[in-house]
Each structure stands twice: as structure tokens, then as C-alpha cells.
Amino acid sequence: MSTTHAKAAKAFLSDKVNAEWHDKTLYMVRAKRDRLSHAIPEWEELRHTARDLKLYSNSHLPELIEEFEKNATANGCHVHYAKDAEEYCSIIEEILRNHGVHKLVKSKSMLSEECNLNPYLIEKGYEVIESDLGERILQLLNVRPSHIVMPAIHLKRETVGKLFEEKLGSQEGNSDPTYLTHQARKALRQDFLNADAAMTGGNFAVASTGEVIVCTNEGNADMGMSCQKLNICAFGIDKIIPDLESLGIFTRLLARSATGQPITTYTSHFGRPHKGGEQHFIIVDNGRSKILGMPQHHKVMNCIRCGACMNTCPVYRRSGGYSYSYFIPGPIGINLGMLHDPQKHSGNVSACSLCLSCSYVCPAMVDLGEQIYIWRQKLDGLGQANSQKKMMSKGIQFLMERPSLFHSALKMAPIANKMPRFVLYNGLNAWGKERELPHFAKQSFEAWWKQNHQKKNTK
């Protein structure tokens, strides 16, 4: 009965100590988010306004894209359009090629993960350096992020210590986070200075000013974009917001939801190129416009990529980012994966207890859990329904349509209480894995009701 997610989660859970640490650490981030959001009396008003602003901007994108382009061009920037991942990669490669770039220093961009930019550029002979500490660690390990905001959350300090020992020449056996961070600072500083171009994603693109806003704590986007004169920012069409008034709403929500901070250290507005430099903006669709045409799913495009839904998700916390088949994990990743390729990613929709905590913490009020439920209803139509579950549903239907059989089955249920353990706790009974089965009551509720109340009422 196991889905791809459940099978992968089993591997994650085999290291019990690490799994417990992962769960607790992410819950700590969730608790920080709660403390900060509860300190803002107007929090719910902010969420509602953020949702409405996103619904507005996403449904007015043709106009807002034109407005962004007009203003960015007036600011002296170049605006490119990429309809898909392939075009996104080739535009970037062309800019680099035209400027004789060998080395690109990159700030974090989930869009570049989505479009597999790094392998594309590396294959063509470019040196690509990730500069966010977590992303750099993952790049040196040659693995993918396991969280969109805390990409290396699944790794322990000892792993990083060993890695830096080998790759950066840090002290043997020193895995102190402060020491390791400053080792990376020292090494990456040289990369910022001796690269030939810098690139970043974007958190928001403001139509009325033609600027791209990047929010980081490390300042890596700023170091790259300020040390290099050839600058590239690429972002999905869903990052476009109307104006600075809207940005006031989103900057209040983003960091509080993401990491439980009142704001990120840097909220940078990239508006004009360096003197003697170039600023390129790449606006990417890659399937987003089609999602806006799906009435049950278009709200996914409200997402501002804060990761709050992951931190709160009881399944994500206990199964880790690598248990999901799509590169974005957690509730938002389940949805984006299904929208991207339902055949390939249907194994993730089981990774949800339908507790809807994700929907309650989402700063842009994406109905994440509700949409996962909708996807589950669609599984059969996609040919992805689990055959065992289908058989069981049919069995239950058979029983429900035959009241006398149903009642006698109910009467017999308590027999299970006295069955020897090996009959109940084995590979055939998924409900007996990692948990104790509940005891069946001696009497069914219906029987109890008839005995105690119906009699009284008829008296």
C-alpha cells in the first residue's frame, strides 16, 4: 500500500535520532513564526489583503507585465521572456557567452532548480558558484535542497565540517557552526570578487517601479550583484506585484512566516544597472500561465515561497524533503508537483494528514490542504489510485449497502481485541505499523443507543 513518499520516508526515519531532531527543529521555527505573527494584531487582515492582492495581480498579469517591462526598460535594464525552462537556460547562457563570462556567482533561486540551470551551464563549460551558505554546502555535496528556505536543514554539522575539511581546507574535526560559516565567508568572498557575472532569483517584481526585490539574511545576493557589473535576475511571472504599497504588505508577512523574523536583514531593490554594467531581467512562464487557468488550483500561484507550510506540516517534519519526488517538498511542493506532472508526482499526495495546518499558516492564504484533497479525488481518473485502497473502498461499499451484514460485521469486530499479535501486526496490515491498534468497544454505538435511549423514549 506504500506510496513513493512513504517508501522514501522509511529511509529517512531509519535514523531515529536525526529524524527526531529534524521534527523538533522545524517545529521550533514554526513556534517562532507563531510568536511573531501573534504579536501583530492585524495579522489576519494582512493575510487577507495579501491573498486579494495576489488574486488581483495574477489575474491582471498581461497589464502588469507590460508595466514592469516599460519601467524596467526606462531604468536602463534589459527585459527578456522565457516561455519554458529550456528558453530560460538558453537566454542566460547567451548573456554569459556574449560577455565572455567564465565564472558565474549565483544567489539562491528555486527557479534555477526548477529549470536545472546549473547542470546546463556546467555542461557548457561555465563555472557556477552557489553563494547561499546552505546552497553552497549542497553544491559541494552534489545534492539537492531539502527545504526551500533552509536548504540544508537535513544535514548535521559534522557532515558540513568534514565537507569543508576536504573542499575548503578547514581544521580537521572542527564542526563549530560559527567557525564553518566564517570559513565559507572567506572562500566565497574570493568567488564574489573574481567571478565575471552575478545572478539571483527574485522575491517580488514591482510593476510600478520596474525593480526586483530580493530578501536575504546572508547578503549573498547583494555581494554578488554589487561586486559584479553584469547582473541577471530571473523570476516567475507569479512574482510580479503591482506597486510599493503591495510590497508593504508582503514584506511584513514574508520573514515572519518563513523564519520568525520581523524582516530579513536585506530587502534589496535592484532597479538600475551599475555604471558601465548591465542589468538583465528574465520573466519566466514555464507552465505558470496554464495553472492560472485551473479554477481549483490557480490559488497556488499566490505562494510567496516562505516555506511556512513545510515547517508546520507534521508529515514533512517527520519525513524530510527528500521523501517527496518533486524538488519542492511539503504541502506547496505536493501541489506544484501535481501541477507539473501528475503521473510522476502522484506518490506525494498521500503525504498529508489533511490537518490543514498549512492552509492556516500560509501568509497568502493558499488552500494547500484542500487542494491536496482535490488531487486525491482525481487519482483514480489519472490511473494512479492505489489498487488495495480501491478494493477496500469497494468492500466497504458492499458492506454499507447491506445493513444486516454490516451489523453482524460490527458485532464481530471485538474479536480482533483477543487475536494474537502476529495476526494483527504483520506486513498485511498497514494500520498496525509503527502504532498500536485501538481496542474495539464491546458494543457498537448503535447498539448502545438502542439499549439506553430508544427504550427510554418509547416508554
Binding site: E42, E45, N75, Y81, K83, G134, L180, H182, P262, Y266
Partner: protein, 193 residues
């Protein structure tokens, strides 16, 4: 059809319902003592903010706050303790190794200790490459929230770059342990003048 037309056409085909623009009218927090709130939250984000002492010059404050700073970058006339003017330097590599940069902030935000500034140095990197950052901020230029903040940010970008900075550069990417000084300034101080 070029890709821009492709995207715009696809959007026009797909968007089924056009939602109205909501009115943004948030009745937000107001801090009765803005200065106190700003100083407190600055500590909260790992930085510090303090009011210039009575009779104290900016130079005095710089020496008091950064006694070990050797290489100090500044182009402001009122600061004489600077050891060089970064505007006379051509490359970011030459700015590397700066202990302290002193710059001007335009206003501060009380809910999050963010200070808004517009690029005044020719080299944008000086704001990030320096080990420490000292922002001079007029103490009567404090607003409550980001709503007020963005009402004060001009729609037309005045220069190359503008930014809000709240505290020092930081990361928690290794085991969620908070470390100051990831790539940018390890220390950020706001001097309220």
C-alpha cells in the same frame, strides 16, 4: 510569435476571472515611544542602535563604538576619522578588508529595525563588503511599519540601488545555529543623531 506574445496570449486564454484590486487600508500597530521601540528591536535582530551622546561628535562615537576599526571608509564631510574615501577606488577587490563603512540612512522602521537607504557611494559593494556598518540616522525619522515605510519610498528609483537593512548579515544554515557575518557586515550599528 515571440515568447512575450506566447506568455501574454497564454495568460489571456487561461485567466477565467479577473479579481478586483483590494483596498489596502490596514489599521496597524503604532508605537507610542518610537525611539525606544527602534532601539529594542535593533538588539532583537542582532544589531544595535543608540542615540548620539550629548556633546559627542560623530567621530567620538565612531571611536567609542568601533575602537579597533583600522580601515574606515566614508565620503561624508561631517566624518573626519575616515581613513579613505571609497569613491576614489575603482574595484570592489580594493574595498575588501575595510573594517568599517559609515553611511547615511533616510528613515528607520520601528516594527523591524530596518533602515532605508539609497546608494550614495559609487561602489555599491562597500555597503556589503565592509566588516562593520555604521548608519547615521536622524532620530526624528522613524516610522511604525512597512506600510508607512513604502509610502515614503519614491516610486521612481532615484539611483542604481536602494535597500532596507535590518541588523548584521546572518545565517542559520548549519543546524539552525545562528551565526552573524555570513557574507555582509558582521556588525551593524545605527547611530541616531
Amino acid at each position: 510569435m515571440n515568447s512575450k506574445e506566447f506568455i501574454i496570449n497564454s495568460l489571456r486564454e487561461n485567466i477565467k476571472e479577473r479579481f478586483p484590486r483590494p483596498e489596502v487600508n490596514i489599521s496597524h500597530i503604532v508605537y507610542p515611544d518610537k525611539l525606544k521601540q527602534f532601539i529594542e528591536i535593533s538588539t532583537g535582530v542582532g544589531g544595535r542602535a543608540e542615540v548620539l551622546g550629548e556633546g559627542e561628535s560623530i567621530d567620538d562615537a565612531v571611536r567609542r563604538l568601533f575602537p579597533d576599526a583600522g580601515r574606515i571608509a566614508c565620503n561624508l564631510l561631517e566624518v573626519t576619522c575616515a581613513t579613505y574615501n571609497p569613491d576614489y577606488i575603482d574595484t570592489p577587490a580594493e574595498l575588501n578588508g575595510t573594517d568599517l563603512v559609515i553611511c547615511r540612512g533616510i528613515f528607520g522602521v520601528c516594527e523591524n529595525a530596518a533602515v532605508y537607504f539609497e546608494q550614495e557611494y559609487l561602489q555599491r559593494s562597500i555597503y556589503f563588503i565592509s566588516e562593520s556598518l555604521l548608519i547615521l540616522l536622524p532620530k526624528d525619522q522613524l516610522v511604525d511599519t512597512m506600510h508607512d515605510a513604502y509610502r515614503r519610498v519614491p516610486n521612481e528609483p532615484p539611483g542604481e540601488f536602494r535597500c532596507f537593512i535590518s541588523g548584521p548579515s546572518k545565517t542559520a544554515d548549519i543546524e539552525q545555529a545562528l551565526v552573524m557575518g555570513a557574507h555582509g557586515a558582521r556588525q551593524a550599528t545605527v547611530l541616531l543623531v
